[in-house]
């Protein structure tokens, strides 16, 4: 009895989540005439034209390439600098550590809207405007603090005795860190990388502000569908569907860690 009511709740909730997405997929497979002309739950004349437009036009598909480039760069940078810092926070107490930790977290709380204009000026003045690295660095603003926070949670779960034993065995710090410690928190690193990927992938305000042509993210390219001849709903929907796919792939790979990951290592 109990499990049946649970199942009903879950089915209803998942329907609520999936129907809007289904509608987007449905629209992406229709022609514009059908979208605006008739109202149907299924595409009557199945067409892949909308996808074809995107996948054959470099100004469209380069948007995906750009997004993926800066997201990967950001993830690598964030994790690389966050690892030693998280280790320091989880193992040592030092002057100002608590204040520093909160200051880091406070950057995660900074509204991107506050930073959009200064970022634009900063990166323009050092000649990084419209490059992938500019977006990657800008996204570090909220991803590095998050990565430190997550990794610190996972590292706290590793007993300190392991470090001490390794040092007694003659391991130097870098060798111990890479050879012994990192494998121990591999799932934590995966989770942190997942979150960096996620927040960098979904962010638009900063990435749009910092790019114009060469590094323009797909999400910004999508605004192109409004043209003089009206809205190209079909292509817009197809572009939307294609932005969901990378996320879906990543989730599938980390599905076994997802629950623990969402608790940021704190259960």
């Amino acid at each position: 009895m109990k499990s049946r009511s649970s199942a009903i709740v879950m089915v209803l909730y998942l329907l609520f989540l999936m129907i809007p997405i289904y509608w987007l997929v449905n629209m992406s497979l229709k022609t514009n005439a059908e979208i605006t002309g008739t109202f149907s739950l299924f595409p009557n004349n199945l067409t892949f034209r909308n996808y074809q437009v995107i996948l054959t036009d470099p100004s469209w598909y380069m948007g995906y390439v750009n997004s993926i480039i800066y997201v990967v760069m950001n993830t690598v940078i964030s994790i690389t600098v966050a690892l030693p810092a998280a280790y320091a926070f989880s193992r040592y107490s030092f002057i100002g550590d608590k204040h520093l930790f909160f200051w880091l977290l406070s950057n995660r709380m900074a509204p991107p809207a506050v930073f959009a204009l200064p970022f634009f000026q900063l990166y323009s003045s050092i000649g990084l405007f419209d490059t992938h690295i500019a977006v990657a660095l800008a996204h570090c603003l909220f991803n590095v603090p998050l990565a430190v926070w997550i990794l610190e949670g996972f590292m706290r779960g590793v007993p300190k005795e392991i470090d001490e034993t390794a040092y007694i065995d003659g391991y130097s710090f870098p060798r111990f860190f890479v050879k012994i410690f990192m494998p121990l928190i591999a799932s934590g690193i995966g989770v942190a990388a997942f979150f960096c990927f996620m927040f960098s992938w979904v962010e638009l305000l900063l990435s749009r502000t910092l790019t114009s042509v060469n590094a323009k993210p797909i999400a910004a390219t999508m605004t192109r569908t409004v043209s003089a001849s009206g809205m190209d709903w079909g292509v817009l929907a197809a572009a939307g569907v294609l932005t969901i796919l990378p996320g879906a792939l990543v989730i599938w790979f980390v599905r076994n860690y997802i629950a623990k990951g969402f608790a940021l290592g704190r259960v």
Partner: protein, 291 residues
């Protein structure tokens, strides 16, 4: 865990410090600079002191945006947190279904913000959207472009759609850590379902729940892209939240001074509330470690 006192740990933190200083402190100082100066272009700045702050503190526009923002965040938390807990309690615990449910639930979280906006913009439209069309068909006069109430409802439902899973997944992680023995003990004591929730599940979820509230508060308070895509802040100013107003002011009207003063106060409000959450959270960590 007992931590070792060692100030050389600063060296390990240094890379983060340099990076975040570059991507946070420099831009923030630019904002501070604007906030205290007036400019007429040509990179000439004149000291304005607290003038902009004074103007902003007494600005009706800011008060209205802040009011809308606070109401929005309050509604979001009031819906998403209980709903998230409820969903988490009903999630399958293991097996194939559990993986599938997890993946499907996490899906909205990885959709770019403006695509979320686009999805709901399309979904809610009366002419081509399923939601708008259905509501119209059953006789409701629904139009999120012209009606403020409908616009609010759409933005709130969209946010619930987008983020409830985050709360649910966090709670689910908390629930997974409860040993089966607790439930057996409760069964022997013939505890009611409510008692199990109140005395076993809720205390175990407390930590993750606080993270959920913290994240949802921060992100809903900074929300920009999704409502901007769906309603553009309209109709009128009905859904112009703080970030939307700020971008309008800074980029649209190029009122840098007031916008910068606004930014700083905005940041302070978020930080203040987050600091309260953070303090509560670290006190809880300490209490747990002390047990």
């Amino acid at each position: 865990m007992q931590k070792i006192q060692n100030n050389r740990a600063w060296f390990l933190v240094l890379p983060v410090l340099v990076l975040v200083a570059f991507s946070a402190v420099i831009p923030l100082m630019t904002v501070v600079n604007y906030a205290f100066n007036d400019t007429f272009g040509n990179n000439e700045f004149f000291w304005a002191g607290l003038e902009w702050f004074d103007e902003m503190i007494h600005s009706d526009r800011l008060h209205a945006a802040l009011g809308r923002q606070a109401l929005f965040s309050a509604i979001i938390l009031a819906i998403e947190v209980p709903l998230g807990i409820f969903v988490a309690l009903n999630m399958p615990k293991k097996g194939f279904w559990s993986s599938l449910v997890l993946v499907l639930m996490a899906l909205p979280l990885l959709i770019p913000f403006n695509v979320v906006g686009t999805i709901w913009q399309i979904f809610g439209r009366v002419d081509i959207g399923l939601l708008g069309h259905t509501l119209e068909a059953i006789g409701l006069d629904y139009n999120y472009v012209n009606d403020p109430i409908d616009a609010w409802a759409t933005v709130i439902v969209m946010d619930v759609w987008h983020w409830t899973s985050l709360v649910a997944l966090l709670c689910y992680a908390g629930l997974q850590s409860i040993p089966q023995a607790y439930y057996q003990a409760a069964k022997i004591d013939q505890a009611s379902r409510w008692a199990v929730f109140r005395y076993i599940e809720l205390p175990k979820m407390k930590g993750v729940l606080l993270i959920a509230v913290l994240l949802r508060f921060m992100d809903s308070f900074m929300i920009y892209t999704e409502p901007f895509v769906v309603t553009g802040g309209g109709p009128g100013n009905a859904t112009t939240f703080l970030s939307i107003d700020l971008v309008k002011m800074a980029v649209g009207q190029f009122d840098l001074g007031p916008a910068a003063a606004f930014s700083l106060m905005y940041f302070l409000v978020i930080m203040l509330v987050s600091w309260v959450f953070y303090t509560v959270m670290s006190n809880m960590d300490k209490a747990e470690a002390g047990q």
